[in-house]
Amino acid sequence: MAKSIASEFTKGLWKEVPPFRLVLGLCPVLGVTTSMKNGIGMGLATTFVLLCSNILVSLLRKVIPAKVRIACFIIIIATFVIVVEQMMQAFAYTLFLDLGVFIPLIVVNCIVLGRAEAFASKNGVVKSTADGLGIGLGFTWALGLLGAVRELIGTGSLKGDVFGLIHWDVPNIFGASFEPFGFAVQAPGAFVILGLLLCAMNLIPSK
């Protein structure tokens, strides 16, 4: 039992890490990863919604009638999205402004609804928690990685914090003569760099 919970958790971190392996939920992946800070922030917000909706859906899975289940899931998710919105406005307002429309958009993120439907509605609370946490954190590190790569190439340095708790500041990693490559933090760069990262992931076997 413990082993299977652990595996539900870890599969999200590597084997099924959403944007790379499943190639889903790409809008925030492309939209907010101009810096590592934004990426991680977005990832954590999504993780919160994913975790809460997974728990609630799994608790209610026997009560919700099959026919209207999708609508119910959407409402559950929307509720938690509102919670996240309100919390971020209160505690992380600058990040909230940076992420903009992508926060309410969590409600239509395929990963969140997909996990609710494919996993939480069929499994118990403990497993669903592990699943939600695993997929969410996998999503977070993927966003963080993409954000870090884009920030590094685009500005030459890494700087930021997570909700004021952890700070990092890595200046001029390529040396002073490095000319920041603005393309990376612009829209086209998002596509190209994600494409190249996917290519790199394909070179590493998933099993």
Binding site: L22, L24, A66, I70, C110, L113, G114, E117, A118
Partner: protein, 697 residues
Amino acid sequence: MTIAILVMLGIGATCGIILSVASKVFYVYEDPRIAEVEYFMAGANCGGCGFAGCGSAAVGVVEGKTGPSVCVVAGLEAATNIATVMGVDPGTAEPLKSLNACSGGDRADDKFIYNGADTCAAMTALYGGQRVCSIGCMGKGDCVKSCQFDAIHMGPQGFPVIDEFKCVGCGACETACPKGLLSVKTMSQRLLVFNQEDHALAPCQQTCPAEIDIPKYIRLIKEGDYEGAVNTIRERNPLLLSCGRVCPHPCEEYCRRGLEDESVSINQLKRFVADYEMNSGRRFPIACAPDTGKRVAVIGGGPAGVSCAYFLRRLGHHPTIYDAMPKLGGITRYGIPEYRLPDDVLDWEIEGILNLGIDVNYDTCIGKDFTIQSLRDEGYDAVFMGIGAWKDYTLGIKGEDLKGVSQGINFLSTVASHPEKTIPVGKRAAVVGGGNSAIDCVRTLLRLGCEKVYIVYRRTRKEMPANEVEIVASEHEGINFQFLAAPTRVIDDGQGNVKGLEYLQMELGEPDASGRRRPVPIEGSETILDVDMVISAISQQPDIGFMEGEPDKENITITRWNTFDNDPETLQCSVPYLFTGGDVATGPSLVVDAIGGGRRAARAIHQYITGEEITGTPRSLRSRHIPESLFEVVPGVIKSPRTPMPELPVAQRITSMSEVDLVISEADAAHESNRCLNCCRICYDPDQKKAQDQNAA
């Protein structure tokens, strides 16, 4: 706070009411499986599958446009569940398995050197691929990549090999293959496949009226998998013991080895595995689809009826055979003599088929005990008519009513019905005709103690329609052949008995419409053959006297040969519930033709009673050949002698009804199966290359 709750409730209630009213007002029926399939999908409508949303992907699955593994989000478990939903489609609750049709792969030559993208889809875009074979596998492995269950691998010969245990029948490979070589089918669907112009078929398989996969069963014999070989034959022909003995094997005429060497003894190999099963002391299991509850009446328990009943049973239906005789087998029992097909062999074979769950009513005769209409009234969903062609044509000459004159099938069945297989015969007998029945009559007469037996035939030996092996065997046994002789009257001895047969000598004239030179009588050449018994065995036609009492007779069309008119592709008659096959539809023909007809009718009956549209095979090959598969020369063949048929010595065999042809030994079967070139549509394994490979190893 209250307002918030009220507003949300208001919006929710309004939406809910509008939607539920709309769902009633705008209700449209759709396949319930769509909802079931959709249930297992992730429901995220993400479009990751390439379909427009989960609903449309579910429709795609149900309509067979894509496979159960379509949903990329829901993963493996959902794919398995969806496969289950699709599997429980009524009547096909059998596992779907993928099947690769091409066995060419690297054996096929290349037309050009291809240097493009490494996928089959891309290669097909360029002149249909680099292989010479227009339908063959290109070996780039799009199917291997498409399989999410690790069930397909590229085999050593450049075509994919499927691991049946891992295959879940999701259908991804079928979609991926641009050549349509991979097909995911249930057993039932496989039983109902007929040769098509664009199939990967060796010339022998194109020729076989039952469409047996000959290269496959010979390959299995070579590998020592006799059970696999038997099962392969049984997918197309349930009467392998009988066919292994009596089939004139038209397939061997088209054997590619035959162009350079003696053809492979295909039929003896069939007999070898069939006998192997019978002598092994157990019956190899035969799978049947789950019961459908549909009942079909099969009139006539000959090869066509038994074959039709066998395939219907395997498809899950309940056939009941009605036969006028006390035992099943029809012409194979009552028309083919004991020395060619022993009763105990036939009994064993038919018992195995009936054991699948087929009911039989013996000694019930159409027209006397029941009619087609009465069967319909009893609640049968469809009727198969397979009564054969049992009515002998008479010679139409003077003296045919004398004592001592009889007809071929009549004579043979009287002998066969006798428990000791013996009836009194004359001392000297003449048999008129040149077909297999005539040969059967003379050889039977000889065994019953007739001293001098003549065959009277109006053309020459070259034109005789009987099988060459049969003619040779009767020559060995000392039959006298009177060629170019046309009987004119039977001579009376004054007491109503036969005293002789008068005939006119003929000579060959100009060729007629059939290309054979027409025999022309020589004036004043009357000759009398001194015989006390005459059998006319010129041909037969179906005995359809019962149609007089048939309530629905106006609607059932009969041809001028007294056969039932039918659609040659579906074998459906002019009334939709009636299907027909075998001699009653084709006129006198081969056992193996009747078996093929039984299966063809079973397919149409299956479609009819399950409410599907009755369709023939598109680009059907019936008795045609694929031009590109027929060669003039076959390079690379090293001559190797064909295994001779073991026979009982003449002296021993003409005194008894013991079986004449014997089965080949296991060593000979190994030798003979090794002679097979393992042909496909274009590819084959040349002996020279095999020899080189062996030397290299």
